[in-house]
């Protein structure tokens, strides 16, 4: 974990802030999807030597790997949670009478849970789109770390 956070910071080019891991100093839009930095880790200065550019590219790659894994975890969490919430509707409807009662006027709890499915779906869709945009931004910054510096001649 330590290495990955260091890599995310190392992924920046020399003209980017090296403490980018701090949430309130994240250069992209939205919250830093890599989370807060690990204290005590400082990014080494990037110079234009071949070895350090290779190092920066390795660091950038590690940062991208970290972003991909974070996104995978988010997808698993959202998919599992939403699917379980969905299953509650047919199970409660078909096998119990829990949703037969009235919520408002003629509107039964079954209808309320049905429309909650749509609300959940749309909220999750927009939540994921916002998070994915933040991941995109993190990936852009990480790539800038490997391609932003000057190449050795």
């Amino acid at each position: 974990m330590k290495t990955l956070h260091a890599c995310a910071a190392n992924g920046l080019s020399s003209n980017q802030p090296t403490n980018m891991g701090k949430r309130d100093e994240w250069p992209g839009r939205g919250r830093n999807p890599l989370g807060p930095p690990r204290h005590g880790l400082t990014a080494p200065p990037v110079r234009e030597t071949a070895a350090q550019i290779v190092l920066a590219e390795d660091a950038s790659r590690h940062a991208l790997d970290l972003i991909a894994r974070r996104k995978k975890t988010l997808i698993f969490g959202l998919s599992t949670g939403a699917f379980l919430f969905f299953l509650a509707l047919p199970i409660l409807s078909f096998f119990t009478t829990a949703l037969d009662g009235r919520a408002v006027g003629a509107l039964t709890w079954a209808y309320v849970l049905m429309f909650a499915q749509f609300a959940m779906g749309l909220i999750c869709i927009h939540f994921f789109i916002a998070r994915a945009a933040a991941f995109d931004e993190a990936a852009r910054v990480a790539r800038a770390g490997s391609s932003g510096g000057r190449r050795p001649s």
Partner: protein, 507 residues
């Protein structure tokens, strides 16, 4: 008199779109995926169009009109289906795929055997879906326009073939967009007319329905036996997971320029479907109150013509004529989308990559694609002509259950499981396909009351079996004998982040 005029207008408009698209359809990329230049909102409308078949539009409304809230359970899995489509499929498929579902699998497992299995699977799922839509659409058009079934089928099939053959994916997408807009506007107008009778208060409409038909119209269905309950649950699972495995829905994500547009597509489709389903509920209860369940069932026992009857009662014959033409456009647009997916599996996967081992010029690929369109459409028309009197309700279930049991597990594991291998993919897809088909063959829909398997929809059994076969195949298969594609880390990176570790292209 007015019906032929609307009919001519819609045909001229769709042919104009096809002519416009045909001028841009000069390569295999433009034919299969419209050069990946479809925008997010356009693709979202087209995805909604794929869902808005005549069965969804007329069938769901009719079911609500006849049985109230029970009818709404036909579409209640749509939100989770869209969400899974976004989370699990949209971006990975966009970032790893090219023309077909098999292309995505081949990025990790470049095996001709797997590609052949995936292509056959796509062809069968599409065939089940297409024949069900063809026969249902043909009968519906026969009923609405009063023309012979064979003529209805030839008309629908002929137009669909022209759209796909010449216009490719661009024509199919724009015809879907136009059709979706027409369906949404028509349904919204009807819903406003219904609500106008109840002071624009949906709760007042619901109260009136309860007052007229009793509380059963707002009470969820309670199947009389456990088997019937499991069957209903199985249908929900088939829709929830099957949509994310339907080839004609999946290839839509290959028509957009980047992952951002793929995500936007699902958001647009989610909102439009949500709006449509609210409107459908209003129309369904409106039809029950204005026309009456007895009148609806008298014309069609499944309530398929409830929307038409409501339109005649509220808006007159001109609106009914317009609605009939919209239904006609709906049938053709959905079929065209399925036809292009099936022809891609036939020409791109089986011919170009399995038989020719990828050694074909772009010209040859385009010719193969067009021949495949003609073959697929011709077969579908012939099969549907002979299937008029068969009970084909099982085909819709079979198509969704097969998609949920084959494509969904294979695509999911390809992106999200490091150990997954080509054997797991082949085992999983084959098992899902065979178990779905066998279970439907011995189900009550085919065998009647003496069926060996008590459920009409097999997804609750075949989907876990598909997943289990993926896992077993992976654990038991010998990895060393299989050809290797990109390593898993690269697959995950490319699936999650556009361009993987390479510098980002501008979209």
């Amino acid at each position: 008199m007015i019906t032929p005029l609307f009919f001519a207008l819609i045909i001229v408009a769709s042919l104009a779109i096809t002519w416009w698209a045909a001028r841009r359809n000069a390569s295999s990329t433009s034919h299969y995926v419209a050069e990946a230049k479809i925008s997010g909102w356009q693709n979202g409308m087209a995805i909604t169009g794929d869902f808005l078949s005549a069965a969804t539009f007329l069938g769901t409304t009719g079911a609500i009109a006849l049985s109230g809230i029970s009818g709404f359970y036909l579409v209640v899995a749509v939100p989770i289906a869209f969400l899974l489509l976004l989370l699990v499929i949209a971006e990975p498929l966009r970032n790893l795929g090219k023309f077909t579902v098999a292309d995505m699998l081949a990025t990790r497992f470049p095996s001709r055997g797997l590609r052949a299995v995936a292509a056959v699977n796509t062809l069968l799922v599409s065939a089940f879906f297409m024949i069900a839509q063809f026969v249902g659409g043909g009968l519906l058009i026969q009923l609405i326009f009063g023309i012979p079934y064979a003529l209805a089928l030839l008309l629908v099939g002929g137009l669909m073939t022209v759209y796909v053959l010449f216009g490719g994916m661009l024509a199919v997408t724009w015809i879907q967009i136009v059709k979706t807009s027409l369906v949404l506007v028509t349904a919204a107008v009807l819903a406003v007319m219904v609500l106008g009778r109840y002071g624009f208060d949906p709760l007042a409409l619901l109260d009136a329905a309860v007052a007229a038909f009793g509380p059963k119209v707002v009470t969820p269905p309670h199947p009389p036996t456990w088997a019937r309950g499991l069957d209903a649950l199985s249908y929900q699972i088939a829709v929830a997971l099957g949509v994310a495995g339907l080839p004609h829905v999946l290839i839509r994500f290959l028509t957009v320029p980047d992952d951002r547009a793929a995500r936007q597509s699902v958001a647009v489709a989610g909102w439009t479907m949500f709006a449509f389903l609210i409107v459908t509920t209003i129309i369904g209860y409106g039809a029950a109150l204005v026309v009456g369940p007895a009148e609806i069932a008298k014309l069609n026992p499944a309530g398929t013509l409830a929307v038409m009857q409501l339109a005649r009662a509220l808006a007159g014959d001109v609106f009914v004529a317009f609605l009939s033409v919209v239904v006609f456009a709906t049938v053709i647009a959905v079929l065209a989308g399925v036809a292009i997916a099936a022809s891609g599996a036939f020409a791109h996967d089986l011919y170009t990559n399995v038989l020719r081992r990828g050694d074909a010029t772009d010209r040859e690929r385009l010719v193969a694609a067009r021949i495949a369109v003609a073959v697929v459409c011709g077969f579908a028309i012939l099969l549907s002509l002979g299937a008029r009197d068969l009970n084909l309700t099982f085909l819709g279930s079979l198509s969704l259950a097969t998609a949920a049991s084959t494509n969904f597990p294979a695509l999911l594991f390809t992106v999200f499981w490091r150990r997954f291998n080509v054997h797991g993919a082949i085992w999983g897809m084959t098992t899902g396909l065979v178990t779905s088909a066998v279970l439907v063959a011995i189900s009550p829909t085919v065998m009647g009351p003496d069926a060996w398997f008590p459920l009409s929809n097999p997804a609750i059994v075949s989907t876990p079996l598909g997943f289990a076969a993926c896992i077993l195949g992976t654990l038991l298969g010998r990895e060393s004998t299989a050809p290797r594609g990109l390593p898993y880390d690269e697959i995950l990176l490319r699936a999650m982040i556009r361009d993987g570790a390479e510098p980002r292209r501008t979209a």
